[in-house]
């Protein structure tokens, strides 16, 4: 008897859950169907949402690609040691070997004053000026390439520079990274700008979806009032609009991904050609998983909030005064 009653309760609960699920499924499908009833308006809203989401995603992607590019340059960050004139060729070689053994250094190139002068003469327009010099003023130079472990770490590179500058036979040491640091700062600015843009355009998505649904809510005002009158809970009345908002957001997010991906596809070969002209190989990165997920999750979430705001005011009017 007891078990039968428990069984009955269970099946009633099961029934209630099934009805609830089927109601949600129907709401979701019905609101998707509603989008196709006014295709022009829906398409416009979805496109605006798509562009709003695509802009910060594209800026983020650009910054990330530039960061990869700069990373490559940073590895080429050179440390130049200018040797004292009293050190002869053999001494310079010994010093070069010593330095090459240092763990922070991956490669050392010895540039004698003659080679330096030849390089300078080769540089455009300087040949005649060099010819006027009575003697070679250039010092012997050791061009170091820091090990990849240090690349991009400006404090360690600075420490390395100071260590080498104090070596006997070294007149001066110059680290050639100031411009890389500046570029880094610019990239950090770009990343921050992408976040600010994402914040501002999120608000735009909220308002665009909210406004589209406000019209829909106004069109169905009578139905909303009547449903509350016959005992619909606010959640029930709100639900189809929330689904509609989420659909607008999700479809907008897909549009954004298509826009950004198409841009990458279109830019890929010109960028590769440009990189080839500079003698490097560079391929644009695609949207990373985090950005992809934030666009796909953020779109529907913003649509949902916009819908909530749009329908809230009318629901409040259905409450007893």
């Amino acid at each position: 008897m007891g078990t039968r009653r428990r069984h009955g309760t269970q099946s009633r609960i099961g029934m209630a859950i099934r009805v609830w699920l089927s109601h949600h499924g129907r709401s979701a499908l019905a609101s998707l169907g509603d989008l196709t009833r006014a295709p022009a308006a829906s398409m416009m809203t979805i496109t605006v949402v798509g562009i709003s989401l695509a802009l910060p995603a594209a800026l983020h992607l650009t910054t990330r690609n530039l960061a990869t590019l700069v990373q490559g340059w940073q590895e080429h960050a050179a440390l130049s040691l200018f040797l004292t004139p009293n050190l002869d060729g053999a001494g310079a070689k010994v010093l070069a070997e010593q330095i090459a053994a240092h763990p922070g250094v991956s490669r050392v190139r010895l540039i004698t004053p003659d080679e330096g002068l030849a390089e300078l003469r080769g540089a455009s327009g300087l040949a005649e000026a060099v010819g006027l010099l009575p003697e070679n003023p250039l010092p012997t130079v050791l061009a170091l390439e820091p090990s990849p472990a240090l690349a991009g770490d400006s404090t360690k590179l600075t420490a390395l520079r100071e260590a080498f500058a104090s070596l006997p036979g070294v007149a001066d040491a110059r680290l050639d990274t100031a411009w890389v640091q500046r570029l880094d700062a610019v990239l950090a600015l770009g990343g921050r700008a992408a976040l600010v843009l994402a914040g501002v355009l999120s608000l735009a998505v909220l308002l665009v979806v909210g406004n589209t649904l406000r019209l829909e809510v106004a069109n169905r005002r009578r139905e909303i009032e009547l449903m509350s009158l016959v005992g619909a809970t606010p959640a029930f009345v709100r639900r189809p609009f929330l689904y509609a908002g989420a659909w607008h957001g999700l479809l907008g997010a897909l549009v954004a991904i298509v826009i950004v991906t198409s841009a990458v596809i279109l830019l890929q070969s010109p960028v590769s050609r440009l990189a080839a002209l500079y003698g490097t190989e560079f391929r644009l990165a695609w949207l990373d998983a985090t950005t992809l997920l934030s666009v796909l999750g953020g779109g529907p979430a913003l649509g949902l909030i916009g819908a909530w705001l749009a329908v809230g005011r009318h629901l409040a009017a259905c409450e007893p005064r």
Partner: protein, 222 residues
Amino acid sequence: MICFDHVTKRYPERGEALRDLSFELDTGEMAFLTGRSGAGKSTLLKLVGLLERPTRGRVIVNGRDLCTLSRRQIPYYRREVGIIFQDHHLLEDRSVFDNVALPLIVSRMGRSEIGRRVRAALDQVGLLDKERVVPTSLSAGEQQRVGIARAVVRRPSVLLADEPTGNLDPDLAREIMQLFRRFHQVGVTLLIATHDVALITAMPYRTLTLDQGRLVIDSGIW
């Protein structure tokens, strides 16, 4: 049971619609509410249906003080009360079936149960063959009967009607009243607002007469 205990309703724009109103309606009782337009009939029904709240006093329906109901409880209370409007409030772009099914859909009833109950309600008002048509293709009397079917489809214990025969000719009005008597016979508490004096004097039911928000005549039980 409907009980008004010194109820006053004041609207900010047009002053007091009900003044210190007290009366009691037993469970299963059928009563008419009459008076000139503006006497407060609609306001009284709105208070019972919890479409509005009283400014002062208490309204008690089925043993519950409506003032103490929270916002979350309001939808569930409204499901216990059926309301019939003079302009019947039907959705013109939905079929008769969908209109009558609305109170069941919002209370998340299963599909087959909805079908069964909607047909039973349409059968009671004699419109079983009209379930697929839209309300605009029906006559005024038929539209009013769709409104009645929607009000009774959830088998409420309390049924309120605001001028249900206002737009109907006398024959149709009598038909609607017959319908209400049948609900009364199965134990529903009915409160019907009407200014159709000829109609109510022909029927042996209690009549509450309002004038400027006060209860001036309570005809008592015949």
